[in-house]
């Protein structure tokens, strides 16, 4: 059933008895043309675009638990395309364009909210780096504005402009950036993909890969063996574990990133703000909670939980930026397992094994990349060649030295 105000009104009259499941909870068939491991935003988006753009519907998305409960459901919902590198910026801008038409495309309101993303700077050096990035954005036709402290103050009077250890000097604003309701993105893609014939198989954990020589021919799962022409791995923090089933080591470490939400309050923050003198970023959800986060916990982890020092660091960043939130309370925290790549940029590529494809290394850029990652992964799977905007996201770039290191931190994933 198509979602609309009319259908909602109709259902309201009949006690909402007519709604159907948003997506089919499919049982796995014995074989598919394409199997995507991982029912997160990326995997579901890839399945959707395979069906919609490439007409490939003999596709299964396998999820070990329930869809959307990994990083897709554990982030701070920020979308933006404010990247520096010529290899990253156009890709994220593709994502932004897809975000802008997503709801109408999917017939699902994912609450894409282009309320603006403001990166604050606190030193001349930081300003210069932001200007360089903003100019790179503008060269690609992405919106970027440089604000001085006066304009930042007008926009966000709640910030600390006077007593700060590192006073705010200004900010780089991308007005088209913003937030989206993360769960709705997952559900929207799932519903749309399912509607086009994709099988979404939950409670189906991949336990091994079927292999003939150097070719991957399917997967072994907790619900039996499933054969496939192509298998794509899109499992974020668990990439190394799935790759290990194929005997591959990846340039990826798994790290915990925590996120936090405060109690709901009436609106105080009109846009997404990142603090440049500490590790803190924040937005206010439509429900009223301040959604915020900071740095990784800093060590390899598969435990979806965070440590206390990071909580303290993040909150001190928040207080340094906005001393008016002191009496607001942190309500919930959660941790996601990030697939931190060695240069901070992603991988969408074939692997040394025929028939096995990889979408990984998203670090903490995975959510905003969801539409474009799905789009480009679908392109790679359907056309057997990289999408032109994802061509640099190669697995062998570490060997060739063609690194995509936005922050210049080198092979130290916990610093990206």
């Amino acid at each position: 059933m198509r979602y609309s105000l009319a259908s909602l009104l109709r259902q309201a009259c009949s006690g909402h008895r007519g709604w159907e499941p948003a997506w089919r909870d499919a049982s796995p068939k014995s074989a598919y043309e394409v199997i995507i491991i991982g029912g997160g935003g990326h995997g579901l988006a890839a399945a959707y675009y395979l069906a919609k753009v490439h007409g490939l519907t003999d596709v299964a998305v396998l999820e070990k638990g329930c869809i959307g409960l990994g990083n897709a459901g554990r982030n701070t919902t920020i979308i933006r395309s404010n990247y520096l590198l010529a290899e990253n910026n156009p890709f994220y801008e593709l994502s932004m364009k897809l975000w802008e038409g997503l709801e109408q495309d999917l017939n699902y309101n994912a609450m894409v909210s282009q309320r603006g993303v403001l990166n604050l700077f606190h030193s001349d050096a930081q300003r210069d780096a932001f200007v360089r990035r903003g100019n790179a954005m503008r060269l690609h036709g992405v919106d970027a504005e440089l604000l001085d402290a006066r304009r930042v103050r007008r926009m966000l009077p709640i910030l600390d402009f006077d007593g700060a250890r590192f006073p705010i000097q200004g900010g780089l604003l991308q007005r088209r950036g913003g937030t989206a309701r993360h769960d709705a993105v997952v559900w929207g893609y799932a519903r749309a993909a399912s509607g086009l014939g994709v099988d979404i198989v939950q409670q189906c954990e991949v336990t091994g890969l079927l292999r003939e020589g150097t070719r991957i021919t399917g997967v072994r799962t907790t619900r039996g063996e499933i054969r496939a022409g192509k298998v794509a791995v899109s499992v974020a923090g668990h990439s190394s574990r799935v790759a290990a089933m194929a005997g591959l080591r990846l340039p990826i470490e798994s790290h915990v990133l925590q996120a936090f939400v405060s109690e709901a309050i009436k609106p105080v923050l009109p846009c997404v703000v990142t603090f440049g003198a500490g590790h803190f970023y924040v937005s206010q959800s439509d429900k009223g909670g301040l959604v915020f986060g900071g740095d990784l916990d800093g060590y390899n982890s598969y435990a979806q939980r965070g440590n206390l020092p990071t909580v303290e660091d993040v909150c001190s960043g928040g207080m340094a930026l906005m001393p008016a939130i002191g009496r607001l309370r942190l309500l919930r925290s959660w941790g996601g397992i990030m697939d931190m790549s060695m240069d901070g940029s992603p991988i969408i590529d074939r692997t040394p094994l025929e028939g096995l494809y990889l979408n990984a290394g998203w670090c903490y850029g995975g959510f905003k990349a969801t539409p474009a990652a799905g789009y480009c992964l679908a392109h790679l799977l359907a056309r057997e060649e990289s999408h032109e905007l994802a061509r640099a996201f190669r697995l062998d770039r570490f060997a060739t030295g063609d690194l995509l290191d936005e922050k210049g931190q080198g092979p130290q994933p916990n610093l990206h």
Binding site: Y3, S4, L5, L8, H16, W19, E20, D25, C66, L69, N109, M111, S113, S123, A125, D128, A129, V131, R132, R133, G134, N135, L139, H140, A164, R165, F166, D183, W187, G188, S262, E263, I265, K266, P267, D286, K287, A303, Q304, R305, L308, V311, E312, C315, S316, G318, A320, R327, L328, R329, L331, R332, S333, G335, T400, G401, L403, K407, G408, G410
Partner: protein, 989 residues
């Protein structure tokens, strides 16, 4: 105002009266009251409006799990939204306001939402508001945002302070009820270090709200005596008003002590709240259990309360929540509420027990007390406006009766408070016996006791608490006898009743978020069948109570709707914080100017005296420039400082540069592996510029290496990389090559280092050093270094220059740094010595084409920076192999170049991108960028450094420096990066 205060003592101090306001109206209460109890005592039952439908809401419970009674507390900058009235300890002058209502609590316009509730079902917004697309940000979202949220932030900086404290103990007891007190007493008596935390301001837990007896005395009295004993023990720390809110790895616990929330403003030098970080060898989880409500029609009407809370108000606060209080129960414990109410001479019109066969003993007692009993009956609806007036009961045979009551005490059974047991990822286990989850997979070192473990009787609480206390003491080496206390038997039978079928009116599962039974059914219909999906789709349990009052019930209903057992549906993993924690408390002192430490240079006070303007460079605060009166702006100040150095002599405190002392027989060989260039060939008494790479071939840092003695080197690092380089060296020394004889020490803090630069610097130095060191002529050539005594103290001199003039750096022990600067200034008076700051330093280094932080940015190779000639081909060093990868050795890589505007009046801007002249401004024409710029007072025009693809081959080429962000687009000429004295004659002069 009718008083609902009962006679008798309870735990309030009746001899004192406290005044407070709620929604600007004045009331009174007593010390020992909470805001909730004081309002109930004054007959106030309507405390707030719900989130979505703006339904009138009153007090549901008496503890931290309260979902309804949320208020804005205090005023002005201290305004604190969403504060639970049940947890606010009353103080004189307290001011509270209801929230989420307009224009007032009694008549809330947004209550119209309730009428539209058939539209506003779970997830309705996902299905609509999509057309036209542009309307989302403009129309729909602003409306949703305005409507959402409960309280209001003050908008002003929090005026109170917070602090952190660390604590260590053998046993942390979480919860000061009977089980916790038993554990603490048992462990503490033989001498174990015990910390006991309780979120209440009164220890005793349910002993305060119930009428238990322990060893012949009242439970409340036993709690007071136990508390007194614990306070007398030296190794015990009792933390009341303290919530353990998080369990972390390594037996680390976080607790929040509300030091001053019960007083109008914190006392002098006291924080508002204190964050305790506790490392405990053992922990006892004695957090008790939470009483569940039952879902039925109109179960949110003010006056419907948890039965145990009703009992607490009556026994502890001596408050009658109503005059005519019906009881609706599914367990034995609910009956106790009825008995306590009758004991307090309140009217109990009926006990409705969902069970067909309640224990005969309870029935007999009720009959004895003259209470009507309705076994096998269900409350399915309520009557009244903004307050309960009656209930509708369906009897065993289906006949409906109406009972007049102004309060309904609901007892749905108890759920162990397992939250802290699952913070480390353990899952609670479903217990069929008590119809709730019990802790199963506990964090290492934690034991659950009492009601938190599913032991719902008092005897069980005391027994398990004592046993755990004994075990904990034993693990710390203390032999504790097992304490025993005598209690009465109590019935703890319970049936499972989550919701009443066939309800009249909305039946709420989550009060705060207005999630109803129908919402859950809708979610299930739409395929949201896992506990997590249900939560996310309906927002069940996502309110400020974190689902304490709703989560389990919601999951049980989900299980029933999907024909599964509750155990199959599972639970939501509880994560920290257990209750919401003020963000200010987690930051504590790290805010404002105290956000990070501030490092001051040895000459800071002198620079302040001279009126220096400072700049923050990481943690350091450095003099940026030294303005003189009459100077128009900072640019003229900097121009004067540069000119002063270039034509005379200037001094600058460069102590912030990292300094690392490297000694040992293998020090030279070691540094050969660290630096890309050769170090071991350096002669004693000489210094050399060096560049070090990361193992991935990218430049890590640069600086000078001085050989003080055969086996003694001193390295300098950039200010920002000092820590990282030390770590890198320590790694190489300890992990990569432990066999080398090398000793490292950071001496950054030991030496004040002052740059003395300019053609007259030698003259100045000769004046101050006197015969301490000969610096004339060839005696101290370019790149010489020496150690000597000056004023009887050690000193070091290096003939190095960052600014391109004849220059030196003089190092003296840090505490003499200021004296040395003053000595130089005094001696240089007649030479016209100028102090200069980081800005002039920056201008001069750009004039000289020296790479700094903007160029050594973590992506440039030595070759990119034009340092390829330094890289030794005769040895191995960190980064050598990977720097040879094709991507890092490619000819088209960006190389460091200089830039000058064609129009010499034009200004260059850092961050501009370099495009071929005449090319359109698109990404495909982006060939580089401008990394540093400055107005050169020496050259009298702007200059810049930047990176340009194949830059070194393109000297003289004209390009666009394109900066759309600032609206600038300047024609520039590509130049050699060294603008000033390219032959380097001046430094050698």
């Amino acid at each position: 105002m009718s008083s609902h205060r009962l006679a008798g003592e309870g735990a309030i101090q009746r001899d004192q009266t406290l005044s407070f306001t709620f929604d600007r109206r004045g009331y009174t209460g007593h010390p020992g009251d909470t805001l909730a109890s004081a309002l109930l005592a004054s007959g106030v039952r309507l405390l707030g409006r719900s989130f979505k439908y703006h339904r009138p809401r009153g007090v549901l419970g008496a503890g931290s799990e309260e979902p309804n009674a949320l208020v804005e507390l205090r005023t002005g900058a201290r305004r604190e939204p969403n504060t639970r009235a049940t947890m606010i300890e009353l103080f004189e002058g307290l001011a509270a306001r209801s929230q989420n209502r307009w224009p007032c609590l009694a008549f809330d316009a947004a209550a119209v939402n309730s009428v539209l509730s058939r539209l506003f079902v779970a997830g309705f917004y996902y299905k609509t508001f999509m057309w036209p697309a542009a309307c989302w940000e403009k129309l729909y979202e602003p409306a949703i945002r305005r409507a959402a949220g409960l309280g209001r932030a003050s908008g002003e900086a929090d005026p109170d302070t917070y602090e952190k404290a660390h604590a260590f103990c053998d046993l942390l007891v979480i919860g000061g009820g009977p089980a916790g007190l038993a554990a603490a007493l048992t462990a503490a008596r033989p001498g174990a270090r015990v910390i006991l935390c309780d979120e209440d301001f009164l220890l005793g837990g349910r002993l305060n709200g119930d009428r238990h007896r322990i060893g012949g005395e009242s439970g409340a009295l036993w709690a007071r005596r136990s508390e007194a004993e614990l306070r007398s023990l030296p190794e015990v720390r009792l933390l009341t008003r303290t919530t353990v809110f998080g369990v972390y790895d390594g037996n680390t616990f976080a607790a929040l002590e509300r030091v001053s929330d019960h007083v109008p403003v914190p006392r002098p030098h006291q924080p508002r709240q204190r964050l305790w970080k506790i490392v405990a060898r053992r922990a006892v989880l004695a957090a008790g259990a939470l009483e569940r409500s039952i879902v039925f029609g109109g179960n949110d009407r003010p006056g419907v309360m948890l039965a145990s809370a009703v009992r607490t108000y009556v026994n502890r606060f001596r408050v009658a929540p109503g005059r005519r209080i019906a009881v609706f129960t599914a367990c034995d414990d609910g009956w106790q509420t009825a008995f306590d109410l009758i004991e307090a001479r309140l009217d109990v019109p009926v006990i409705v027990d969902a069970r067909r066969d309640p224990p005969p003993a309870l029935c007999a007692q009720a009959r004895r007390l003259g209470v009507r009993i309705m076994p096998g009956a269900l409350v399915f609806g309520t009557r009244g406006g903004a307050g309960l007036e009656g209930i509708e009961v369906r009897g065993e045979e289906g006949h409906v009766s109406r009972v007049r009551a102004d309060t309904l005490a609901v007892a749905g059974g108890w759920s162990p408070n397992t939250a802290l047991s699952t913070h480390l990822g353990g899952r609670a286990r479903w217990s069929e016996a008590i119809g709730a989850h019990v802790p199963a997979d506990l964090p290492p070192g934690m034991i659950a006791v009492g009601a938190a473990s599913g032991e719902l009787s008092l005897a069980g609480a005391l027994r398990t608490g004592a046993a755990a206390g004994r075990e904990a003491a034993g693990s710390a080496g203390f032999d504790a006898p097992l304490e025993q206390w005598r209690t009465e038997e109590e019935p703890v039978g319970s049936a499972r009743l989550w919701s009443v079928p066939g309800c009249r009116g909305k039946a709420f599962v989550d009060y705060q978020h207005d999630v109803t039974v129908e919402d859950i059914a809708l979610a299930v219909r739409e395929g949201f069948r896992s506990a997590e999906h249900l939560k996310r789709y309906t927002t069940l349990g996502m309110g400020t109570d974190q689902g304490k009052s709703s989560q389990l019930t919601g999951q049980a209903l989900l299980a029933a709707l999907t024909q599964r057992e509750p155990a199959e549906v599972g639970t939501i993993t509880a994560r920290p914080p257990y209750t919401a924690v003020a963000i200010g408390a987690l930051a504590a002192r790290a805010r404002g100017a105290q956000f990070k430490p501030c490092r001051l240079t040895p000459s800071h006070r002198w620079a302040e005296e001279r009126g220096a303007v400072f700049v923050d460079a990481g943690e350091w605060r450095r003099a940026r420039w030294f303005p003189l009166t009459g100077e128009a702006d900072w640019r003229s100040t900097v121009a004067r400082e540069v000119a002063g150095v270039r034509t005379g002599v200037g001094i600058c405190d460069v102590s912030t540069l990292g300094k690392i002392d490297v000694q040992g027989a293998d020090a030279g060989a070691f540094l050969d592996r660290i630096y890309a260039n050769m170090i071991s060939t350096l002669s004693v008494g000489r210094a050399r510029y060096g560049v070090m790479l990361r193992e991935d071939g990218i430049v890590l840092d640069d600086g000078t290496v001085a050989r003080l003695q055969e086996c003694h080197f001193l390295l300098s690092t950039s200010t920002v990389h000092a820590g990282r380089v030390m770590r890198h060296l320590a790694h190489a020394r300890q992990v990569l090559w432990p066999q080398l004889d090398v000793q490292l020490a950071s001496v950054t803090e030991q030496w004040a280092q002052i740059a003395i630069a300019g053609p007259r610097s030698r003259e100045l130095l000769a004046r101050v050093l006197g015969d301490a060191l000969e610096v004339a002529g060839a005696a101290f050539a370019y790149l010489a270094c020496a150690q000597f005594l000056w004023h009887g103290r050690p000193a070091r001199l290096f003939r190095i220059s960052f600014c391109g003039e004849l220059g030196y750096e003089l190092a003296v022990p840090a505490r003499y740094g200021e004296a040395a600067v003053r000595a130089l200034m005094a001696a240089g008076g007649t030479l016209g010595v100028v102090p200069y700051g980081t800005e002039a330093l920056g201008v001069m280094r750009i004039e000289k084409g020296h790479a700094a932080g903007a160029e050594i940015n973590g992506t440039s190779t030595a070759a990119d920076l034009g340092l390829g000639r330094l890289v030794s081909a005769r040895k191995d060093f960190i980064g050598r192999v990977l720097a040879a990868r094709p991507g890092l050795a490619a000819a088209e890589r960006p190389a460091l170049i200089g830039l000058a505007p064609l129009d010499r009046r034009a200004r260059l801007s850092t961050g501009a991108h370099l495009l071929p002249a005449g090319a359109p401004a698109t990404l495909s024409h982006d060939e580089g960028f401008v990394s540093s710029t400055a107005y050169s007072p020496t050259l009298k025009h702007w200059i810049g450094l930047g990176f340009l693809s194949r830059g070194r081959e393109r000297l003289g080429e004209r390009m666009r420096a394109y900066d759309p962000l600032r609206g600038e687009d300047v024609q520039v000429e590509i130049a050699h990066p060294v603008f000033y004295d390219p032959a380097g004659e001046r430094v050698r002069s």
